[in-house]
């Protein structure tokens, strides 16, 4: 065994490119974290002092005066529109995903077209969804409902909470469809075969074996949809949000105030920017906290489902 002495495991020379590249990835990560921390620190530092129970629990009379303003209607509006959206988007998204994974012939042109449409839907700018909501839900569905119901004045055919929520549901549909499809595909084919071999129909197999297993994945889709929708302003701009209204929304056909939109109003419509700034910071802080809270709720539900699946009854 000649030459074994020459073989050693020390690096002969300093590998500049390895060092450079690992440094670069670290810097990029640090940059992202830096931005996030800057935003959070800035908002919390400036918003915290203006935040009070009075602020979050008051229906405002003057939006730009710290003493008389409050954001209760905005919190309520944002929360309700996200919940209503969830109620619509989850069933429709899940059923579509079930069709695509379980029923649609995998290689057919139609299936490919539907898949491409779903993916493209995710790439449509949100203001376009707003226009779609206005054109389809309000001017088509709403106006025709008014006609059919013989409403003397327009009830459904105008911007409303329900139309804003539906527009958001359409916008977040791809998120739920894709997440559900992924979780359906991850279920071992052996489970489906076992069920079918016992004489279960396809429907029984989907309802009793496939869906319970896919539930955590479906809820992940729900969480992503909630995160996306909670902060969106553009889709609701034309479909239901208002700058100011007296009191809280009482029916699905009422308009509503919204935290994200209120941030826009505060930053653009005030006569005295400096006086409004504390209100603005506090509102942004509440918006962040609300988004976070909505996410936590969804994550807790998912954790419960996972635990139940593991423990089994």
């Amino acid at each position: 065994m000649n030459g074994t002495q020459a073989r050693h495991f020390r690096a002969d020379k300093f590998d500049f490119w390895s060092f450079f590249f690992s440094g670069l990835t670290g810097l990029a990560t640090l940059f992202i974290i830096g931005i996030l921390v800057t935003i959070l620190v800035n908002i919390i530092y400036n918003g915290w002092s203006s935040l009070s129970w009075h602020f979050v629990s008051t229906i405002p009379t003057d939006l730009f005066n710290m003493k008389t303003t409050g954001i209760l209607p905005m919190i309520v509006g944002t929360t309700i529109r996200v919940f209503v959206m969830t109620i619509f988007v989850i069933p429709v998204g899940v059923i579509t995903a079930i069709y695509l994974t379980e029923y649609a012939p995998n290689t057919s042109l139609i299936t490919r077209v539907i898949r491409a449409a779903v993916n493209n839907l995710a790439g449509v700018p949100s203001i376009v969804f707003g226009l779609f909501g206005l054109g389809f839900f309000i001017n088509f569905v709403g106006k025709n409902m008014d006609l059919l119901l013989h409403n003397p004045t327009s009830v459904w055919g105008r911007p409303a909470l329900i139309w804003a929520a539906l527009t958001l549901a359409v916008m977040t549909l791809p998120v739920v469809i894709v997440a559900t499809e992924e979780s359906l595909k991850a279920i071992p084919p052996g489970l489906r075969e076992a069920s079918l071999a016992l004489g279960a129909t396809k429907l029984e197999t989907i309802l009793k074996i496939v869906l319970p297993q896919a539930l955590p994945g479906i809820l992940t889709g729900g969480i992503l949809a909630v995160s996306r929708a909670a902060g969106e302003v553009a889709p609701i701009l034309l479909t239901g949000v208002c700058t100011y209204m007296v009191g809280l929304p009482h029916s699905p056909t009422d308009q509503f105030m919204d935290l994200g939109y209120h941030v826009f109003i505060l930053s653009t419509q005030s006569n005295d920017i400096d006086a409004t700034r504390p209100i603005l910071y506090a509102t942004v802080l509440v918006l962040l906290m609300l988004t976070f809270a909505l996410n936590i709720v969804a994550i807790l539900i998912r954790a419960r489902v996972r635990k139940k699946l593991r423990a089994l009854g």
């Binding site: 489970l191 071999a197 016992l198 004489g199 297993q213 089994l312 009854g313």
Partner: protein, 272 residues
């Protein structure tokens, strides 16, 4: 031909059951199966008797699992599959237009290569098929679950944890649970697709004992790669090679005195 281990096993086995009188229970008549354009099964004809264990052997890709899956129409689930010929079970053509596949699968149960218990409790795994077919009363379910678990030699190991997850069982226990699940709905036939191939020798021998026990009540068709296993548990053996049935006969004959050269080469380990 020198006496091999397999021949010793066959020699120790009780003589094969005498063929039942009357028509064979499963008649496979000139069955061909195509995946798209490729022909996976070539004009196979085979008659299997009731309450007999038949082993399908042959090298990978020979079509033995494919033929097995024809018997409960699991191949229906695959796109682009076409089947010619006729399979009759108890005199009924199972590919006739008016056949209810659900009814067929109730009568022809299946155990898979990879144990696939549902991620439910042990009890719910066995009760699943019973509930599907309309059993509701708790006492009926309890009795049926216990009986199935006893028949699959699992009861004593799991009776104290019926309501804990089936996924906590060992591989061999999971496979016996799958057998319990299959026999719970009282099929006539049990198809087994390499049921012990993923198990250790001890778990395998328990499954084999179980198969010999189940033979009293069920007609069993088993696909196996393990020729000693085929020799130990089957009464009849069919040897397949590249989609063709090469030889079919009593297991003792196939392993000790096959009429085909290819069968002899395969069972003596010269190829495959």
């Amino acid at each position: 031909m020198a006496e091999t281990l397999i021949q010793k096993i066959v020699a120790q086995q009780a003589p094969a059951a005498a063929p039942a009188a009357g028509a064979p229970f499963i008649r496979i008549e000139d069955v061909s199966l195509y995946y798209g354009a490729s022909k996976a099964l070539k004009n196979i004809s085979l008659n299997l008797d009731e309450k007999v264990v038949t082993a399908f052997i042959g090298p990978s890709g020979c079509g033995k699992s494919t033929l097995l899956r024809c018997l409960n129409r699991m191949n229906d689930l695959i796109d682009n599959v076409r089947i010619d010929g006729c399979i009759k079970i108890g005199g009924h053509d199972i590919y006739a237009g008016d056949v209810d596949v659900i009814e067929l699968r109730k009568r022809v149960g299946m155990v898979f290569q990879k144990s696939n218990p549902f991620p439910k409790s042990i009890y719910e795994n066995v009760a699943y098929g019973l509930r599907l077919h309309g059993m509701k009363s708790k006492s009926d379910l309890d009795a049926a679950v216990e009986q199935s678990l006893r028949s699959s030699a699992l009861w004593d190991e799991v009776k104290d944890r019926l309501h804990s997850s089936a996924l906590g069982l060992s591989g061999g226990q999971q496979q016996r649970l799958c057998i319990a699940r299959a026999i719970a709905i009282k099929p006539d036939i049990i198809l087994m697709d390499e049921p012990a191939s993923a198990l250790d020798p001890i778990a395998t021998s328990r499954i084999e004992e179980l198969i010999l026990e189940l033979k009293k009540d069920f007609t069993i068709v088993i696909v196996t790669h393990n020729m000693q296993q085929a020799a130990r548990i089957s009464d009849q053996t069919a040897f397949f090679y590249i989609g063709e049935l090469i030889e079919f006969g009593p297991t003792a004959k196939i392993f000790t005195n096959p009429s085909q050269k290819r069968t002899e080469d395969y069972v003596t380990g010269r190829f495959g």
